[in-house]
């Protein structure tokens, strides 16, 4: 099964405006796929449709050939789908470590009643925190972290759910260059470990270096798809960005 995620004819309207228009994309397993397009092309709306934050007017979403359109968010997570947000969302009053524990997949009733955290879960959380350089902050409330640290925590926390596919919504937004480097290395090493990524980004440098293939959206539809070189040379893509 090479295709991990697929959308078919997804359409979503807000009042008179069509945000996503008969959009069909697919994401290959094991890839770091980029999703770009000019402002208002529907990238975040597409994410919201895939994760069922918005209800689609028509069309479907498939994960591993299983229809997941309209599936409840917590079940999507169990299917192996996770996402981050453009504006970082964390549990601000919980500690860093607690933020890591909430996403752990609950198995069976007993795990709910578990006091504190199971040994191996705590180990996994701490090792992930170490990987992003946050283990020394584990007992601080999340709101005390700096902007960059918050983004890292959001990323690390969703990894606790052991996702197969991670949707990243502008991971490099407002982040300094050395942090961007760090994020790219992290994404690559996680990808080597088997995680597939779909990345929405405006930072072209990052996208061209990190992602292959790249999907291009304009006005809610896919207008191009291919390797970074192919996309950069594609006149339709240039038109979409420069035209109108």
């Amino acid at each position: 099964m090479a295709t991990l995620l697929k959308t078919e004819g997804l359409t979503c309207r807000f009042g008179g405006i069509i945000a996503v228009n008969n959009c069909s994309i697919s994401v290959e397993r094991g890839s770091i796929t980029g999703l770009i397009g000019p402002n208002g092309s529907g990238k975040t709306t597409l994410f919201n449709l895939i994760t069922n934050v918005y209800k689609a007017d028509s069309g479907h979403v498939y994960m591993r050939d299983k229809r997941i359109t309209g599936m409840a968010p917590h079940r999507l997570c169990q299917q192996g789908l996770s996402r981050t947000f453009q504006i970082t969302r964390l549990f601000w009053d919980l500690t860093v470590l607690e933020n890591m524990i909430v996403p752990v997949r609950q198995v069976g009733f007993r795990s709910l009643l578990a006091l504190g955290m199971h040994g191996h879960e705590k180990e996994r959380a701490l090792s992930l925190l170490k990987r992003v350089g946050l283990d020394h902050m584990k007992d601080e409330p999340a709101r005390k972290l700096s902007f960059g640290q918050q983004k890292l925590l959001e990323f690390a926390a969703i990894l606790m759910a052991e996702p197969e596919l991670v949707l990243l919504d502008e991971p490099a937004g407002g982040v300094n260059p050395s942090m961007i480097r760090f994020l790219m290395d992290l994404i690559r090493s996680l990808n080597r470990e088997g995680v597939t990524f779909l990345v929405v980004e405006h930072n072209m440098g990052l996208v061209m270096e990190l992602c292959n293939p790249i999907l291009v959206l304009d006005q809610g539809q896919k207008i191009a798809e291919g390797s970074p070189e192919a996309v950069q040379a594609n006149p339709v893509v240039l038109d979409a960005y420069l035209g109108d």
Partner: protein
């Protein structure tokens, strides 16, 4: 449960309609406040009763007819509402979840104060026209309509039309509508949102002053009555769609008719359950009411 005759049924429906008009005036302020500030003002019922007490006091001390007492009570309640929003509710701007509780605590305080001043005796205003009935004949059907209810209905309609004109034609009304649509955008084009909110709260309470004057002529009340009346008003605005004035109007008429029909067909003890059930079911199954907007959600 028994089916009444056509005459009785028509009588009951018409009375329900007339009553509904008064409900609409009472609830208009509540839905307006929600539309502009997203606040459910649970104290609205207490302010209704307060207005009724003011009318009562003016009537007993000066012989002032309740319909005229609005000269005093409407501006008074406007000021109270303005101060209330700008000095108290605005302080909780960062904790929206607690605002409802604050309005609730104000309702309790008001109930307590009114109870201390006027005790628990049921009050009502009886003027020279209170027991007069207006007979109306439509073909075979003879209706006997209490004058207070008819006059009250038309007074309510006049007040609602004035309110509607204010909202739709004036500059203030435009500012209010802009704030309802998008608070931040309104601020960006120069609307003083804080002032609009305070004024709206004032208008909201001013309308309930009008409602209270009519209310004092038709119903008996004491300090504890606010609980029953806020529930009715909440049911009306939820059914109509919170924030929608036309919705509140339609819902009020419907509720008035449903309530009086139910009172005739079942015992009048249980007829309030009509309101509570409608409130409950609407919240669950159609939270946007009849005319509110649908929030898109997965």
């Amino acid at each position: 449960m028994h089916l009444p005759s056509l005459n009785v049924l028509t009588q009951v429906v018409v009375i329900g309609l007339l009553t509904g008009g008064v409900y609409a005036l009472m609830a208009a302020g509540l839905t307006l406040i929600f539309g502009v500030m997203r606040v459910i003002n649970i104290a609205h019922g207490a302010f209704l009763v307060l207005s009724a007490y003011i009318a009562y006091w003016l009537f007993n001390s000066f012989g002032l007819d309740p319909f005229l007492s609005v000269i005093v009570s409407v501006p008074l309640l406007f000021v109270i509402g303005y101060v209330f929003q700008s000095q108290l509710l605005a302080k909780l701007r960062n904790e929206p979840g607690l605002v409802v509780l604050l309005t609730f605590s104000i309702a309790l305080t008001l109930e307590g104060v009114m109870g201390v001043i006027w005790q628990s005796t049921g009050r009502s205003i009886r003027t020279w026209y209170t027991s007069q009935v207006w007979p109306v004949t439509l073909g075979d059907i003879t209706l006997r309509l209490p004058v207070v209810r008819v006059v009250g209905f038309f007074a309510a309609i006049i007040a609602l039309v004035l309110l509607y004109l204010l909202i739709s034609r004036s500059d203030l009304g435009r500012a209010i509508r802009a704030t309802v649509q998008n608070k931040d955008a309104a601020q960006l084009v120069g609307v003083n949102v804080a002032r609009v909110q305070a004024v709206t709260f004032g208008i909201g309470l001013a309308t309930v002053a009008g409602g209270g004057a009519i209310f004092s002529l038709i119903w008996t009340f004491n300090a504890g009555s606010h609980e029953e009346w806020i529930s009715k008003m909440l049911a009306v605005i939820v059914l109509g769609g919170m924030g929608s004035l036309p919705g509140a109007f339609v819902a009020a008429l419907l509720m008035g008719m449903a309530e009086s029909t139910a009172a005739v067909m079942m015992s009048s003890y249980i007829s309030p359950i009509v309101f509570y059930l409608i409130l409950f079911l609407t919240l669950i199954f159609r939270p946007q009411g009849l005319m509110g907007t649908i929030i898109r959600k997965g």
